[in-house]
Symmetry: C2
Protein backbone atom coordinates (compact mmCIF):
# COMPACT_ATOMS: atom_id res chain seq x y z
CA UNK A 1 0.00 0.00 0.00
CA UNK A 2 1.32 3.37 -1.04
CA UNK A 3 -0.27 5.41 1.77
CA UNK A 4 -2.94 5.19 4.43
CA UNK A 5 -6.32 4.60 2.86
CA UNK A 6 -4.95 3.68 -0.55
CA UNK A 7 -5.25 0.19 -1.96
CA UNK A 8 -3.51 -1.13 -5.06
CA UNK A 9 -3.74 -4.60 -6.56
CA UNK A 10 -1.61 -6.21 -9.25
CA UNK A 11 -3.38 -7.69 -12.21
CA UNK A 12 -2.28 -9.31 -15.47
CA UNK A 13 -4.67 -8.72 -18.36
CA UNK A 14 -6.08 -12.02 -19.66
CA UNK A 15 -6.93 -12.39 -23.34
CA UNK A 16 -10.58 -12.87 -22.40
CA UNK A 17 -10.60 -9.42 -20.80
CA UNK A 18 -9.74 -7.83 -24.16
CA UNK A 19 -11.72 -6.76 -27.19
CA UNK A 20 -10.83 -7.60 -30.78
CA UNK A 21 -8.17 -4.89 -30.88
CA UNK A 22 -6.34 -6.73 -28.07
CA UNK A 23 -6.95 -3.97 -25.48
CA UNK A 24 -8.86 -4.43 -22.21
CA UNK A 25 -12.54 -3.70 -22.76
CA UNK A 26 -14.20 -0.90 -20.82
CA UNK A 27 -16.63 -3.28 -19.12
CA UNK A 28 -13.69 -5.34 -17.85
CA UNK A 29 -11.80 -2.25 -16.60
CA UNK A 30 -14.91 -1.17 -14.70
CA UNK A 31 -15.22 -4.69 -13.25
CA UNK A 32 -11.57 -4.50 -12.14
CA UNK A 33 -11.86 -1.16 -10.33
CA UNK A 34 -14.93 -2.42 -8.46
CA UNK A 35 -12.90 -5.49 -7.50
CA UNK A 36 -10.19 -3.17 -6.11
CA UNK A 37 -12.74 -1.38 -3.90
CA UNK A 38 -14.13 -4.72 -2.70
CA UNK A 39 -10.65 -5.97 -1.89
CA UNK A 40 -9.90 -2.80 0.05
CA UNK A 41 -13.11 -3.25 2.05
CA UNK A 42 -12.10 -6.87 2.70
CA UNK A 43 -8.60 -5.91 3.81
CA UNK A 44 -10.07 -3.42 6.28
CA UNK A 45 -12.46 -6.03 7.67
CA UNK A 46 -15.60 -4.48 6.18
CA UNK A 47 -16.34 -6.82 3.26
CA UNK A 48 -19.72 -7.40 1.61
CA UNK A 49 -20.88 -9.70 4.41
CA UNK A 50 -19.99 -7.11 7.08
CA UNK A 51 -21.80 -4.38 5.12
CA UNK A 52 -24.79 -6.70 4.78
CA UNK A 53 -25.06 -7.05 8.58
CA UNK A 54 -26.51 -3.56 8.61
CA UNK A 55 -29.18 -4.60 6.12
CA UNK A 56 -27.71 -3.09 3.00
CA UNK A 57 -25.09 -3.09 0.32
CA UNK A 58 -22.89 -0.62 -1.59
CA UNK A 59 -24.25 0.61 -4.90
CA UNK A 60 -22.35 2.83 -7.31
CA UNK A 61 -24.43 5.60 -8.86
CA UNK A 62 -22.04 7.35 -11.28
CA UNK A 63 -18.61 7.53 -12.87
CA UNK A 64 -16.51 10.23 -14.42
CA UNK A 65 -13.42 8.83 -16.11
CA UNK A 66 -10.42 10.07 -18.08
CA UNK A 67 -8.28 7.91 -20.35
CA UNK A 68 -4.74 9.11 -21.05
CA UNK A 69 -3.54 6.72 -23.67
CA UNK A 70 -3.62 3.14 -24.90
CA UNK A 71 -5.66 0.90 -22.68
CA UNK A 72 -3.60 -2.07 -21.42
CA UNK A 73 -3.29 -5.06 -23.73
CA UNK A 74 -3.31 -8.82 -23.19
CA UNK A 75 -0.48 -9.90 -20.90
CA UNK A 76 0.13 -6.39 -19.49
CA UNK A 77 1.00 -6.28 -15.79
CA UNK A 78 -1.08 -3.43 -14.45
CA UNK A 79 -1.93 -1.93 -11.07
CA UNK A 80 -5.50 -1.08 -10.18
CA UNK A 81 -5.87 1.28 -7.24
CA UNK A 82 -8.50 3.09 -5.23
CA UNK A 83 -8.97 5.37 -2.26
CA UNK A 84 -11.76 7.28 -0.61
CA UNK A 85 -11.68 10.98 -1.47
CA UNK A 86 -14.53 12.17 0.73
CA UNK A 87 -17.68 10.90 2.44
CA UNK A 88 -20.69 12.08 4.39
CA UNK A 89 -23.78 10.39 5.82
CA UNK A 90 -25.10 9.33 2.41
CA UNK A 91 -22.29 9.41 -0.14
CA UNK A 92 -18.77 8.03 -0.54
CA UNK A 93 -16.64 9.50 -3.32
CA UNK A 94 -13.98 7.05 -4.50
CA UNK A 95 -11.10 7.58 -6.84
CA UNK A 96 -9.73 4.73 -8.94
CA UNK A 97 -6.74 4.47 -11.24
CA UNK A 98 -5.17 2.02 -13.65
CA UNK A 99 -1.38 2.13 -14.11
CA UNK A 100 0.53 0.36 -16.86
CA UNK A 101 3.68 -1.74 -16.32
CA UNK A 102 5.85 1.41 -16.38
CA UNK A 103 3.78 3.03 -13.62
CA UNK A 104 2.10 5.49 -16.02
CA UNK A 105 -1.53 6.21 -15.19
CA UNK A 106 -3.65 5.26 -18.23
CA UNK A 107 -7.09 5.76 -16.68
CA UNK A 108 -8.62 7.51 -13.68
CA UNK A 109 -12.19 7.23 -12.44
CA UNK A 110 -14.19 8.93 -9.71
CA UNK A 111 -17.46 7.39 -8.64
CA UNK A 112 -20.05 7.90 -5.92
CA UNK A 113 -21.26 5.02 -3.76
CA UNK A 114 -24.45 4.97 -1.73
CA UNK A 115 -25.62 2.41 0.80
CA UNK A 116 -28.87 0.72 -0.22
CA UNK A 117 -31.22 -0.92 2.23
CA UNK A 118 -31.89 -4.33 0.68
CA UNK A 119 -35.36 -4.75 2.16
CA UNK A 120 -36.79 -1.34 1.28
CA UNK A 121 -34.50 -1.17 -1.82
CA UNK A 122 -33.80 2.49 -1.14
CA UNK A 123 -30.92 4.64 0.00
CA UNK A 124 -30.25 4.83 3.67
CA UNK A 125 -27.58 6.33 5.96
CA UNK A 126 -24.19 4.69 5.69
CA UNK A 127 -23.51 2.74 8.92
CA UNK A 128 -20.64 4.49 10.73
CA UNK A 129 -19.11 1.11 11.61
CA UNK A 130 -18.28 0.23 8.02
CA UNK A 131 -16.53 3.59 7.43
CA UNK A 132 -14.54 3.60 10.66
CA UNK A 133 -11.62 1.43 9.46
CA UNK A 134 -10.91 4.01 6.74
CA UNK A 135 -9.90 6.60 9.34
CA UNK A 136 -11.22 9.38 7.11
CA UNK A 137 -13.15 12.34 8.55
CA UNK A 138 -16.68 12.78 7.26
CA UNK A 139 -17.37 16.05 5.43
CA UNK A 140 -20.55 18.02 4.97
CA UNK A 141 -20.68 18.05 1.19
CA UNK A 142 -19.16 15.41 -1.05
CA UNK A 143 -17.94 16.90 -4.37
CA UNK A 144 -20.20 16.22 -7.34
CA UNK A 145 -19.19 13.89 -10.13
CA UNK A 146 -19.65 15.44 -13.57
CA UNK A 147 -22.89 14.15 -15.06
CA UNK A 148 -23.65 13.31 -18.70
CA UNK A 149 -25.45 16.05 -20.66
CA UNK A 150 -28.78 14.22 -20.61
CA UNK A 151 -30.09 15.26 -24.05
CA UNK A 152 -33.68 14.46 -24.96
CA UNK A 153 -34.11 11.43 -27.20
CA UNK A 154 -35.15 12.43 -30.72
CA UNK A 155 -35.77 10.67 -34.04
CA UNK A 156 -32.08 11.02 -34.78
CA UNK A 157 -31.17 8.53 -32.07
CA UNK A 158 -30.44 4.92 -32.99
CA UNK A 159 -31.72 2.07 -30.90
CA UNK A 160 -30.76 -1.56 -30.23
CA UNK A 161 -32.32 -4.11 -27.91
CA UNK A 162 -30.55 -6.41 -25.47
CA UNK A 163 -32.34 -9.31 -23.84
CA UNK A 164 -30.82 -9.85 -20.39
CA UNK A 165 -29.00 -13.20 -20.28
CA UNK A 166 -28.39 -15.54 -17.36
CA UNK A 167 -24.68 -14.72 -17.32
CA UNK A 168 -25.34 -10.95 -17.11
CA UNK A 169 -26.75 -11.44 -13.61
CA UNK A 170 -24.41 -11.21 -10.66
CA UNK A 171 -24.47 -12.46 -7.10
CA UNK A 172 -26.91 -9.65 -6.13
CA UNK A 173 -29.54 -10.98 -8.53
CA UNK A 174 -29.41 -7.94 -10.86
CA UNK A 175 -27.53 -7.19 -14.04
CA UNK A 176 -23.95 -6.36 -13.18
CA UNK A 177 -23.54 -2.74 -14.23
CA UNK A 178 -20.24 -3.45 -15.99
CA UNK A 179 -22.49 -5.19 -18.57
CA UNK A 180 -24.18 -1.86 -19.42
CA UNK A 181 -20.93 -0.68 -21.01
CA UNK A 182 -21.15 -3.51 -23.57
CA UNK A 183 -24.78 -2.57 -24.28
CA UNK A 184 -23.84 1.10 -24.73
CA UNK A 185 -20.76 0.56 -26.89
CA UNK A 186 -21.91 -2.36 -29.08
CA UNK A 187 -24.41 -0.23 -31.10
CA UNK A 188 -21.55 2.08 -32.13
CA UNK A 189 -20.37 -0.79 -34.36
CA UNK A 190 -17.00 -2.43 -34.98
CA UNK A 191 -15.82 0.11 -37.52
CA UNK A 192 -16.29 3.05 -35.14
CA UNK A 193 -14.89 1.19 -32.12
CA UNK A 194 -11.76 0.04 -33.94
CA UNK A 195 -11.13 3.53 -35.38
CA UNK A 196 -11.58 5.55 -32.17
CA UNK A 197 -10.20 5.55 -28.68
CA UNK A 198 -12.08 6.78 -25.67
CA UNK A 199 -10.75 9.86 -23.86
CA UNK A 200 -13.50 10.61 -21.33
CA UNK A 201 -16.79 9.31 -20.01
CA UNK A 202 -19.58 10.43 -17.69
CA UNK A 203 -22.06 7.76 -16.57
CA UNK A 204 -25.09 7.96 -14.30
CA UNK A 205 -26.87 4.83 -13.09
CA UNK A 206 -30.55 5.47 -12.33
CA UNK A 207 -32.23 2.09 -11.97
CA UNK A 208 -31.17 -1.53 -11.79
CA UNK A 209 -31.98 -3.88 -14.66
CA UNK A 210 -33.68 -7.09 -13.57
CA UNK A 211 -33.29 -10.66 -14.89
CA UNK A 212 -35.37 -11.40 -18.01
CA UNK A 213 -35.80 -7.68 -18.84
CA UNK A 214 -35.20 -6.40 -22.36
CA UNK A 215 -32.95 -3.34 -22.31
CA UNK A 216 -33.10 -0.76 -25.09
CA UNK A 217 -29.79 0.99 -25.71
CA UNK A 218 -30.28 4.37 -27.40
CA UNK A 219 -27.48 6.28 -29.03
CA UNK A 220 -26.77 9.63 -30.65
CA UNK A 221 -23.36 10.59 -32.05
CA UNK A 222 -22.21 14.15 -32.79
CA UNK A 223 -19.00 16.02 -33.40
CA UNK A 224 -17.38 17.65 -30.37
CA UNK A 225 -14.65 20.28 -29.99
CA UNK A 226 -11.04 19.67 -31.14
CA UNK A 227 -11.86 16.90 -33.62
CA UNK A 228 -13.50 14.86 -30.90
CA UNK A 229 -16.64 12.80 -31.34
CA UNK A 230 -19.24 12.62 -28.57
CA UNK A 231 -21.59 9.65 -28.20
CA UNK A 232 -24.67 10.07 -25.99
CA UNK A 233 -26.28 6.93 -24.56
CA UNK A 234 -29.42 6.01 -22.65
CA UNK A 235 -30.50 2.56 -21.53
CA UNK A 236 -34.21 2.04 -20.95
CA UNK A 237 -36.29 -0.88 -19.76
CA UNK A 238 -39.73 -0.01 -21.08
CA UNK A 239 -40.21 3.70 -20.28
CA UNK A 240 -37.85 3.62 -17.30
CA UNK A 241 -34.44 5.24 -17.78
CA UNK A 242 -31.84 2.92 -16.22
CA UNK A 243 -28.53 4.51 -17.22
CA UNK A 244 -27.28 7.47 -19.20
CA UNK A 245 -23.78 8.25 -20.38
CA UNK A 246 -21.62 10.43 -22.60
CA UNK A 247 -18.39 9.15 -24.13
CA UNK A 248 -15.80 11.37 -25.79
CA UNK A 249 -13.66 9.82 -28.53
CA UNK A 250 -10.68 10.69 -30.71
CA UNK A 251 -10.07 9.12 -34.10
CA UNK A 252 -7.02 6.87 -34.05
CA UNK A 253 -4.33 8.10 -36.39
CA UNK A 254 -3.48 4.81 -38.12
CA UNK A 255 -0.42 6.23 -39.88
CA UNK A 256 1.29 6.85 -36.53
CA UNK B 1 6.08 -27.15 -13.47
CA UNK B 2 5.28 -30.62 -12.21
CA UNK B 3 6.94 -32.63 -15.02
CA UNK B 4 8.33 -32.26 -18.52
CA UNK B 5 5.67 -31.07 -20.90
CA UNK B 6 3.26 -30.04 -18.18
CA UNK B 7 2.34 -26.43 -17.56
CA UNK B 8 0.39 -25.09 -14.58
CA UNK B 9 -0.61 -21.50 -13.87
CA UNK B 10 -1.99 -19.96 -10.71
CA UNK B 11 -5.19 -18.01 -10.95
CA UNK B 12 -7.47 -16.29 -8.48
CA UNK B 13 -11.14 -16.31 -9.49
CA UNK B 14 -12.43 -12.73 -9.96
CA UNK B 15 -16.07 -11.93 -9.19
CA UNK B 16 -16.60 -11.05 -12.84
CA UNK B 17 -15.62 -14.59 -13.82
CA UNK B 18 -18.53 -15.97 -11.78
CA UNK B 19 -22.22 -16.50 -12.41
CA UNK B 20 -25.01 -15.49 -10.06
CA UNK B 21 -24.41 -18.52 -7.83
CA UNK B 22 -20.88 -17.18 -7.18
CA UNK B 23 -19.14 -20.04 -9.04
CA UNK B 24 -16.89 -19.62 -12.09
CA UNK B 25 -18.94 -19.80 -15.27
CA UNK B 26 -18.22 -22.52 -17.81
CA UNK B 27 -17.32 -19.98 -20.52
CA UNK B 28 -14.72 -18.46 -18.19
CA UNK B 29 -13.25 -21.87 -17.26
CA UNK B 30 -12.91 -22.68 -20.96
CA UNK B 31 -11.25 -19.29 -21.53
CA UNK B 32 -8.80 -20.07 -18.68
CA UNK B 33 -7.72 -23.48 -19.98
CA UNK B 34 -7.09 -22.00 -23.43
CA UNK B 35 -4.99 -19.32 -21.72
CA UNK B 36 -2.95 -22.10 -20.04
CA UNK B 37 -2.21 -23.72 -23.41
CA UNK B 38 -1.22 -20.35 -24.89
CA UNK B 39 1.07 -19.64 -21.95
CA UNK B 40 2.71 -23.04 -22.34
CA UNK B 41 3.31 -22.34 -26.04
CA UNK B 42 4.77 -18.96 -25.06
CA UNK B 43 7.06 -20.49 -22.45
CA UNK B 44 8.38 -22.97 -25.00
CA UNK B 45 9.05 -20.19 -27.52
CA UNK B 46 6.22 -21.16 -29.89
CA UNK B 47 3.60 -18.50 -29.16
CA UNK B 48 0.82 -17.32 -31.49
CA UNK B 49 3.22 -15.14 -33.50
CA UNK B 50 5.63 -18.06 -34.02
CA UNK B 51 2.78 -20.34 -35.10
CA UNK B 52 1.58 -17.61 -37.46
CA UNK B 53 4.97 -17.56 -39.24
CA UNK B 54 3.95 -20.82 -40.88
CA UNK B 55 0.77 -19.23 -42.19
CA UNK B 56 -1.68 -20.65 -39.70
CA UNK B 57 -3.09 -20.75 -36.21
CA UNK B 58 -4.26 -23.32 -33.64
CA UNK B 59 -7.98 -24.05 -33.62
CA UNK B 60 -9.70 -26.28 -31.08
CA UNK B 61 -12.32 -28.60 -32.58
CA UNK B 62 -13.79 -30.45 -29.59
CA UNK B 63 -13.88 -30.95 -25.82
CA UNK B 64 -14.82 -33.75 -23.51
CA UNK B 65 -14.92 -32.63 -19.90
CA UNK B 66 -15.70 -34.08 -16.47
CA UNK B 67 -16.61 -32.05 -13.42
CA UNK B 68 -15.99 -33.65 -10.04
CA UNK B 69 -17.56 -31.23 -7.64
CA UNK B 70 -18.23 -27.59 -6.90
CA UNK B 71 -16.74 -25.27 -9.46
CA UNK B 72 -14.38 -22.73 -7.86
CA UNK B 73 -15.95 -19.63 -6.35
CA UNK B 74 -14.95 -15.96 -6.29
CA UNK B 75 -11.61 -15.48 -4.55
CA UNK B 76 -10.55 -19.14 -4.89
CA UNK B 77 -6.86 -19.69 -5.63
CA UNK B 78 -6.85 -22.34 -8.32
CA UNK B 79 -4.33 -23.99 -10.60
CA UNK B 80 -5.07 -24.43 -14.29
CA UNK B 81 -2.86 -26.97 -16.04
CA UNK B 82 -2.32 -28.58 -19.40
CA UNK B 83 -0.11 -31.04 -21.26
CA UNK B 84 0.01 -32.69 -24.65
CA UNK B 85 -1.25 -36.28 -24.54
CA UNK B 86 -0.55 -37.25 -28.14
CA UNK B 87 -0.10 -35.74 -31.58
CA UNK B 88 0.33 -36.67 -35.22
CA UNK B 89 0.61 -34.70 -38.46
CA UNK B 90 -2.85 -33.18 -38.14
CA UNK B 91 -4.06 -33.42 -34.56
CA UNK B 92 -2.83 -32.50 -31.09
CA UNK B 93 -4.70 -33.98 -28.13
CA UNK B 94 -4.39 -31.82 -25.03
CA UNK B 95 -5.43 -32.53 -21.49
CA UNK B 96 -6.40 -29.71 -19.13
CA UNK B 97 -7.25 -29.65 -15.46
CA UNK B 98 -8.50 -27.23 -12.82
CA UNK B 99 -7.41 -27.82 -9.21
CA UNK B 100 -8.91 -26.10 -6.18
CA UNK B 101 -6.88 -24.50 -3.38
CA UNK B 102 -6.49 -27.91 -1.66
CA UNK B 103 -5.03 -29.45 -4.82
CA UNK B 104 -8.21 -31.45 -5.57
CA UNK B 105 -9.01 -31.72 -9.26
CA UNK B 106 -12.47 -30.24 -9.84
CA UNK B 107 -12.52 -30.40 -13.65
CA UNK B 108 -10.63 -32.19 -16.43
CA UNK B 109 -10.90 -31.54 -20.16
CA UNK B 110 -9.46 -33.20 -23.23
CA UNK B 111 -9.57 -31.33 -26.51
CA UNK B 112 -8.20 -31.72 -30.02
CA UNK B 113 -6.34 -28.91 -31.76
CA UNK B 114 -5.77 -28.60 -35.48
CA UNK B 115 -3.59 -26.15 -37.36
CA UNK B 116 -5.58 -23.95 -39.73
CA UNK B 117 -4.08 -22.24 -42.74
CA UNK B 118 -5.29 -18.64 -42.41
CA UNK B 119 -5.31 -17.89 -46.14
CA UNK B 120 -7.11 -21.01 -47.37
CA UNK B 121 -9.04 -21.21 -44.06
CA UNK B 122 -8.66 -24.97 -43.98
CA UNK B 123 -6.74 -27.58 -42.03
CA UNK B 124 -3.17 -28.16 -42.95
CA UNK B 125 -0.22 -30.19 -41.62
CA UNK B 126 1.11 -29.01 -38.28
CA UNK B 127 4.57 -27.46 -38.83
CA UNK B 128 7.13 -29.74 -37.13
CA UNK B 129 9.00 -26.68 -35.82
CA UNK B 130 6.20 -25.61 -33.49
CA UNK B 131 5.90 -29.12 -31.97
CA UNK B 132 9.63 -29.70 -31.49
CA UNK B 133 9.99 -27.83 -28.16
CA UNK B 134 7.46 -30.22 -26.62
CA UNK B 135 9.86 -33.16 -26.99
CA UNK B 136 6.95 -35.54 -27.52
CA UNK B 137 7.09 -38.33 -30.12
CA UNK B 138 4.44 -38.16 -32.84
CA UNK B 139 2.06 -41.13 -32.99
CA UNK B 140 0.10 -42.60 -35.87
CA UNK B 141 -3.39 -42.26 -34.41
CA UNK B 142 -4.43 -39.67 -31.87
CA UNK B 143 -7.17 -41.02 -29.53
CA UNK B 144 -10.67 -39.78 -30.30
CA UNK B 145 -12.48 -37.37 -28.01
CA UNK B 146 -16.00 -38.53 -27.16
CA UNK B 147 -18.49 -36.68 -29.37
CA UNK B 148 -21.98 -35.44 -28.49
CA UNK B 149 -24.87 -37.73 -29.55
CA UNK B 150 -25.89 -35.49 -32.45
CA UNK B 151 -29.67 -36.04 -32.31
CA UNK B 152 -31.82 -34.68 -35.11
CA UNK B 153 -33.60 -31.44 -34.31
CA UNK B 154 -37.36 -31.99 -33.89
CA UNK B 155 -40.39 -29.90 -32.93
CA UNK B 156 -39.62 -30.69 -29.30
CA UNK B 157 -36.48 -28.57 -29.39
CA UNK B 158 -36.52 -25.01 -28.02
CA UNK B 159 -34.77 -22.20 -29.82
CA UNK B 160 -33.28 -18.81 -28.90
CA UNK B 161 -31.46 -16.27 -31.04
CA UNK B 162 -28.23 -14.44 -30.24
CA UNK B 163 -27.08 -11.48 -32.28
CA UNK B 164 -23.26 -11.46 -32.28
CA UNK B 165 -21.98 -8.41 -30.38
CA UNK B 166 -18.79 -6.44 -30.84
CA UNK B 167 -17.38 -7.76 -27.56
CA UNK B 168 -17.96 -11.41 -28.57
CA UNK B 169 -15.27 -11.05 -31.25
CA UNK B 170 -11.70 -11.87 -30.37
CA UNK B 171 -8.32 -10.93 -31.79
CA UNK B 172 -8.80 -13.47 -34.65
CA UNK B 173 -11.85 -11.57 -35.92
CA UNK B 174 -14.32 -14.38 -35.10
CA UNK B 175 -16.55 -15.09 -32.15
CA UNK B 176 -14.45 -16.47 -29.32
CA UNK B 177 -15.74 -20.00 -28.83
CA UNK B 178 -15.91 -19.60 -25.06
CA UNK B 179 -18.92 -17.36 -25.89
CA UNK B 180 -20.79 -20.34 -27.36
CA UNK B 181 -21.10 -21.80 -23.86
CA UNK B 182 -23.13 -18.76 -22.75
CA UNK B 183 -25.36 -19.13 -25.82
CA UNK B 184 -25.88 -22.83 -25.13
CA UNK B 185 -26.53 -22.54 -21.39
CA UNK B 186 -28.59 -19.30 -21.28
CA UNK B 187 -31.71 -20.88 -22.91
CA UNK B 188 -31.82 -23.46 -20.08
CA UNK B 189 -32.97 -20.60 -17.86
CA UNK B 190 -31.97 -19.39 -14.40
CA UNK B 191 -34.16 -21.84 -12.50
CA UNK B 192 -32.58 -24.89 -14.17
CA UNK B 193 -29.04 -23.49 -13.98
CA UNK B 194 -29.29 -22.63 -10.29
CA UNK B 195 -30.82 -26.04 -9.44
CA UNK B 196 -28.35 -28.25 -11.34
CA UNK B 197 -24.62 -28.72 -11.52
CA UNK B 198 -22.81 -29.97 -14.58
CA UNK B 199 -21.04 -33.34 -14.37
CA UNK B 200 -19.94 -33.93 -17.97
CA UNK B 201 -19.89 -32.31 -21.40
CA UNK B 202 -19.04 -33.24 -24.97
CA UNK B 203 -18.67 -30.38 -27.45
CA UNK B 204 -17.84 -30.36 -31.14
CA UNK B 205 -17.03 -27.13 -32.99
CA UNK B 206 -17.91 -27.34 -36.70
CA UNK B 207 -17.78 -23.81 -38.08
CA UNK B 208 -16.72 -20.39 -36.87
CA UNK B 209 -19.32 -17.70 -36.22
CA UNK B 210 -18.58 -14.40 -37.93
CA UNK B 211 -19.15 -10.81 -36.74
CA UNK B 212 -22.72 -9.54 -37.26
CA UNK B 213 -24.14 -13.07 -37.63
CA UNK B 214 -27.26 -14.10 -35.74
CA UNK B 215 -26.73 -17.43 -33.99
CA UNK B 216 -29.66 -19.72 -33.20
CA UNK B 217 -29.15 -21.84 -30.10
CA UNK B 218 -31.32 -24.97 -30.14
CA UNK B 219 -31.93 -27.09 -27.10
CA UNK B 220 -33.57 -30.36 -26.08
CA UNK B 221 -33.60 -31.64 -22.49
CA UNK B 222 -34.32 -35.25 -21.46
CA UNK B 223 -33.83 -37.48 -18.46
CA UNK B 224 -30.65 -39.57 -18.39
CA UNK B 225 -29.57 -42.57 -16.31
CA UNK B 226 -29.08 -42.36 -12.51
CA UNK B 227 -31.30 -39.31 -12.00
CA UNK B 228 -29.20 -37.29 -14.41
CA UNK B 229 -30.58 -34.79 -16.90
CA UNK B 230 -29.08 -34.50 -20.38
CA UNK B 231 -29.28 -31.29 -22.40
CA UNK B 232 -28.56 -31.47 -26.14
CA UNK B 233 -27.49 -28.28 -27.92
CA UNK B 234 -26.88 -27.11 -31.47
CA UNK B 235 -25.83 -23.66 -32.62
CA UNK B 236 -26.72 -22.70 -36.17
CA UNK B 237 -26.09 -19.64 -38.29
CA UNK B 238 -28.77 -19.93 -40.94
CA UNK B 239 -28.75 -23.58 -42.03
CA UNK B 240 -25.09 -24.09 -41.11
CA UNK B 241 -24.37 -26.11 -37.97
CA UNK B 242 -21.60 -24.31 -36.05
CA UNK B 243 -21.41 -26.23 -32.77
CA UNK B 244 -23.09 -29.15 -31.07
CA UNK B 245 -22.85 -30.29 -27.49
CA UNK B 246 -24.32 -32.53 -24.80
CA UNK B 247 -24.23 -31.58 -21.14
CA UNK B 248 -25.00 -33.97 -18.31
CA UNK B 249 -26.45 -32.51 -15.10
CA UNK B 250 -27.35 -33.57 -11.58
CA UNK B 251 -29.97 -31.82 -9.49
CA UNK B 252 -28.40 -30.00 -6.56
CA UNK B 253 -29.63 -31.38 -3.26
CA UNK B 254 -30.40 -28.09 -1.47
CA UNK B 255 -30.96 -29.79 1.89
CA UNK B 256 -27.32 -30.90 2.03
Amino acid sequence: MAELGTYEMDHTIAYYECDRTGAASLSMLVAMIIMASEKQNEELGVDVDQAMKFGGTWVIINYEADFMGDLPHEGAHIKVGTNIQAYNQFFVLRKFWVKDAKGQTVATFVGTFVYMDLKARKLTKIPAEIMKPYQVQAVKRVPHVKAPQSLDVSDQWQSKQYQVRYFDIDYNGHVNNARYFDWMLDPLGGEFLMDHHITKMMVKFEHEVRPSAVATSKLYVENGPDDSVVSHHKIFVGAELCTEADFIWQKINKSE
